[in-house]
């Protein structure tokens, strides 16, 4: 959690009707409480996860750091690593990407859409498999940004 995020969290808490909250993430824990508030303690009920939809296997993301960017799917469809079954994959682990470089194909409604990278850097994780269905916003690649900005 960065200082900016903590500030933002406090701001949101202040503006809300919640009187008390606690947040715990990896390596960070914060408890906030409003003094003299009459607002009753609200339990943010969550729908039980037993009814959660079928989970696709989501691979464990390594601990994120600010240098890393996740490229997500801009559309729904089937993810392919190459333009055709016998072609070479667009990118492999360790490859250096440039902005605008095609990195994969997402097929939707029989149309093969080439997806271009919006960042430059090194591919350090490929999160989906060839021919895997992907939804909007699904994480596809983890890219370590270039340390030199162009």
């Amino acid at each position: 959690m960065h200082l900016e995020e903590v500030r933002e969290l406090i701001r949101i808490f202040e503006e809300s009707k919640i009187s008390e909250m606690e947040l715990e993430t990896e390596g960070f824990k914060i408890a906030l409480k409003k003094s003299g508030s009459n607002a009753y303690n609200i339990q943010l009920a969550r729908v039980p996860s037993a009814e959660a939809p079928t989970q696709r296997t989501v691979p464990e993301l390594e601990e994120p750091n600010l240098n890393q960017v996740i490229i997500t799917a801009p559309m729904v469809g089937t993810f392919y690593r190459a333009s055709s079954p016998d072609a070479e994959p667009y990118v492999s682990l360790g490859d250096m990407l440039t902005v605008g470089q095609p990195i994969c194909v997402i097929e939707a409604m029989k149309v093969m859409n080439e997806i271009e990278s919006e960042v430059s850097g090194k591919v350090i994780q490929i999160l989906v498999e060839d021919a895997q269905p992907v939804e909007y916003g699904q994480p596809l690649f983890v890219v370590e940004k270039n340390s030199i900005s162009i």
């Binding site: 009707k17 609200i42 009920a45 559309m75 729904v76 469809g77 409604m109 939804e135 909007y136």
Partner: protein, 452 residues
Amino acid sequence: MFERILVANRGEIALRVIRACREMGISTVAVYSEADQNSLHVHYADEAYCIGPPPSAKSYLSIPNIISAAMISGCDAIHPGYGALSENPQFAEICQNHGLTFIGPSVKCMESMGDKAVAKQLMQKAGVPVVPGSEGPVVDEKEAIEVAEIIGYPVIIKAASGGGGKGMRIARSADEVKRMLNMARIEAEAAFGSGEVYIEKLIEGPRHIEVQILADEFGRIIHLGERECSIQRRHQKIIEESPSPAIDEGKRKQLGEAAILGAKAVGYSNAGTMEFLYDRNGDFYFMEMNTRIQVEHPITEMVTGVDLVKEQIRIAAGQPLRYRQEDIKITGVAIECRLNAEDPDHNFRPCPGLITDYLAPGGPGIRVDSAAYPGWEVTPYYDSMFGKLIAWAPTRHEAINRAKGAIDEFIIEGIKTNLLFHLRVLDNDSFVRGELSTDFVEKYLLRSSEED
């Protein structure tokens, strides 16, 4: 029967369709925008796919993403709900092209009834009463007066290319036609780029009466009685009831037959609703047809016992109608109150926010179709309606009483809602006497809310 249906919608109607599918043993796929990640319909469906960022145009209206989600999840049909893509003929056609059954009428029906002018002509030809008026735009003052004399005053002069109150003028005599015609033309020209106007009979203080129909793919059509939807604000329905306090058995039969006549004329199939304007003399005129399931469908379900969504699915799967007209009986009265995240004390402005506490009412004759739960956030991206409260009872008085009790029980904290506004309508003497018209809210309620 379908194996898997994708529900191309959100909120309470998505839940409604998922429930029907579950009861029929059909697997469900939900789609959601990033703003709806924690929505109930996402949790209740068997599978769920994120199809875009919060704005509807990029998610719930994204035909490619929705079709794609249906294909990759192996669906064989899509239920469009209401709003969204439900009356989009291009979407229905694209579904067809991808081997997905669109649960609704044919592309052709959607196209013809979707165009208001075409629909009116088709209904007129079929013998369904339509609002009397000029055949298209009037050429000059002379023609305008001629038409007005034939159809009878008062008349309304309307812009051919627009709506929303612009380019509209009421005239109660030939003199007024002379005065108003030019004004209407100039306003129409300025607002819509065309000064073409037509003349229609002005139906004063009408009731909005609509008829639910079900048609199968074998040409059988039945009606399921009428709904009165006169309690509106800015053309948005707030409270609906079935049956209408103004309609008796004889009138119901007439309305039903007119609706079936119109549906037959266009070869309609699946669920649909014919909307009529009903005047003080008991005459009714075709307004438009909605070629989809409607928000207020629960009140028809409560008084007829027919599950309209299941019937939609059966019809789309090619099954014949399971009901004949004589099987449809109207029992009791059902009243529906639409639940909106809005502030009636500040011009009904939408009030998105986090629902911190929520407890829905219960008991005999109470039905709540709602997407809300404690901890759920009403976002600003979509309609402010998050649910519906329906009260059924053997008589209208009991139904009104039951609805009031249910509203008293209802707890919704964290957002402003129109619950208290509903109580004011239900308490109103004219409402209790069944004296309704589409200007009801304006006449009886808006003035006093300003005085408060």
